[in-house]
C-alpha cells in the first residue's frame, strides 16, 4: 500500500466530504427549526447545478454572474417550497411533513427532467483544470475551491448562529419552540428562514461540485442521502459536528472505493449510516441528553 495513494484518496475524499457537509448542515438546520427531515434537500443541490447551466448556456451569462443567479433562483425555489408545501400544513405531524418533502422532491426532480431533459451536463471548472501536485498526490483547482468555499460557509454559519440575534433566535426555536414563541419570536418566520438558508447552502454545494462530477436532473437523490448521512453522523447538529461527519464520510468512502472496490462506494456510506443509527443514534460526538431541572 502506497502512502501517496492513500493521500490521494484522502484528498479527493475531503472535497466530496465537504460537499456532504454542506448538504448535511442544510438538513440539520431545517431539522432543528421544524423537527422534520427535509428529503427534498438533495433537489436544491441539483437545482444549484442545473440553474447555473441554465444561466450559463441558455442565457449566456458569464460564470461569475451565473453562479449568484443560480443561488438566488434555488433559494427562491426553497422559499416557495416552504410556502406552498410546508406552511399550509403546519398542523400536520412531523411524519406527514417528511412524506410531503419526499413528494416535493419527486415533483422537483420531475420538473427538472421535463425542463432540462435526462442528459448529463458539465459546468466548466472555476479556474481551469491543471492538476496541482502535493506530496506525490495531485488535486484539481476545483478541489481547492470546494474546500475554501466550505470553510467560508462554515465560518459564516457559525457567526450567524452565535453572534446575531436572528441566529440565536433560531437556536432558541430549535431548543424550545413554545418558549421561543413566548419571548416574541415568530416561529413560522424562523421555519421559512431555515428553508431559505438550507436551500442556499444546498445549491452552493451543487454548484461547486458540478464541475467535478457533472450534473443531471437526478443527482439530488444520492447527494441528498449522503448529506443526510453526514448529518446523522454529526448528530443533527448544524455546526461543526456535521461538517466533521461529512468530511469523515467523504474520506472513508473514497478510501473504500480506492482500496477495496469502487463498486462499494455508495454502500460504504449507508453501512456507516446504519452503524451510527444502531450504535450511536445521538451522533458520533453527541452526549446522551442530560437535563437539570
Amino acid at each position: 500500500m502506497q502512502f501517496d495513494q492513500i493521500l490521494q484518496y484522502s484528498l479527493s475524499g475531503l472535497s466530496t466530504g465537504a460537499i456532504y457537509a454542506l448538504i448535511g448542515v442544510g438538513f440539520s438546520i431545517i431539522f432543528n427549526a421544524t423537527g422534520i427531515i427535509n428529503f427534498a434537500q438533495g433537489e436544491f443541490v441539483m437545482l444549484g447545478g442545473m440553474f447555473t447551466l441554465l444561466f450559463l448556456e441558455t442565457l449566456k451569462l458569464p460564470l461569475w454572474a451565473a453562479i449568484p443567479c443560480a443561488i438566488v433562483a434555488s433559494t427562491v425555489a426553497g422559499l416557495l417550497f416552504e410556502r406552498l408545501a410546508i406552511r399550509p400544513l403546519r398542523q400536520a405531524t412531523p411524519i406527514n411533513l417528511v412524506i410531503i418533502t419526499i413528494g416535493g422532491s419527486i415533483l422537483i426532480r420531475g420538473l427538472a427532467m421535463l425542463s432540462w431533459g435526462k442528459d448529463t451536463h458539465a459546468i466548466p471548472p472555476f479556474s481551469g483544470d491543471d492538476p496541482i501536485a502535493i506530496a506525490g498526490a495531485t488535486i484539481l483547482p476545483q478541489h481547492l475551491w470546494i474546500l475554501a468555499i466550505t470553510v467560508i460557509i462554515v465560518i459564516v454559519n457559525r457567526i450567524y448562529f452565535y453572534h446575531t440575534i436572528s441566529g440565536k433566535a433560531m437556536r432558541a426555536c430549535a431548543y424550545n419552540r413554545r418558549a421561543a414563541g413566548l419571548v416574541g419570536i415568530d416561529v413560522h418566520r424562523m421555519v421559512l428562514f431555515s428553508f431559505i438558508i438550507s436551500s442556499a447552502m444546498g445549491s452552493i454545494a451543487g454548484i461547486i461540485v458540478a464541475p467535478l462530477t457533472m450534473t443531471a436532473y437526478d443527482v439530488g437523490i444520492m447527494l441528498g442521502l449522503k448529506g443526510f448521512c453526514a448529518a446523522i453522523i454529526g448528530g443533527m447538529s448544524s455546526g461543526i459536528a456535521t461538517v466533521i461527519g461529512g468530511l469523515l464520510l467523504g474520506v472513508l468512502e473514497s478510501l473504500g472505493a480506492g482500496l477495496i472496490s469502487s463498486g462499494y462506494k455508495d454502500a460504504i456510506a449507508f453501512i456507516i449510516l446504519l452503524l451510527i443509527l444502531f450504535i450511536r443514534p445521538q451522533g458520533l460526538f453527541g452526549k446522551a441528553e442530560s437535563e437539570r431541572v
Partner: protein, 248 residues
Amino acid sequence: MLLRLKNINTFYGKVHALKNVSLHLAEGEIVTLIGANGAGKTTILNTISGVTPAGSGDLLYHKEPVQALAPDRIVKLGISQVPEGRQVFKPLSVEDNLELGAYLRYRNREGKSSIHEDMERIFTLFPRLEERRKQLAGTMSGGEQQMLAIGRALMARPKLLLLDEPSMGLAPLVVQEIFCVLEQLRSERGMTILLVEQNAKAALRLADRGYVLETGKVILEGDAGELIENAEVKRAYLGKDKKEIWER
C-alpha cells in the same frame, strides 16, 4: 381595565379545559390564580398568551379583542409569560437568553444601548445572574433559572407579566427572594402581575385579589385577605384540615 376574560372556553382536542372563565386585572394589580393540578391555571395563561387560543369567549386587552393573536403578537402588545418549569434556553448563555427576551425590540431596530441598560437593570434585580452572565443557562440551579426566566420576560418591557408557578421546586429562601422582586416590580414600575401558584399561602399574601379554580371553572373570587380567611380555601389549598378549622 387592563385585561378582561369574558366567558372564555378553551379546548385541548375534545377536552374542555376552561369552562366560561371570566376574570379581570386592573392596572398595577397583582392577581393570583390558585387551584389544584389540572384546574386550568396554566391553560388560562396559555390562552392569554395565544399558545392555546380560546374556542369561544372574549379576551380584551385595553378593551381591544386579542384572542386570535399568535404568541409573538401578544408579546408585542406588552404581555409576557414566564412559563411553567422556567423553559430557559439551556444551550444558550445567560446573556443570550436575556437578549432573546428583547428579540422584538431588536427587530424594531431599538438601539443596543437601551437594551443593554435593561439587561443591567435585570442584573440589579438578580445579582446572581450577573455573576453567571457568560454561563450556559442549563448549568444553573433551578432558582437561578427561574430568575433568568423572569429576567428574560422583563427584557420585553411588558406591562402585564404572567407567571406560571415560579416557586415550583425551589427552596423557601429562593421563593422569598423571587416574591420580593415581584413586589418590587409592582411598586417601582407599576407592573401588573397575574400569578399562578400552587403555593397558595405565599401567593395570597403577595396578591391583591385572587381567583380559585376547580376543573376549569372559577369557583371563588375575592380579595386576597378574604380568600386567606375563607374556610373552603383554607381546607383545600392552605393545608389546614377540617379539624383545625372547625374545632377552633
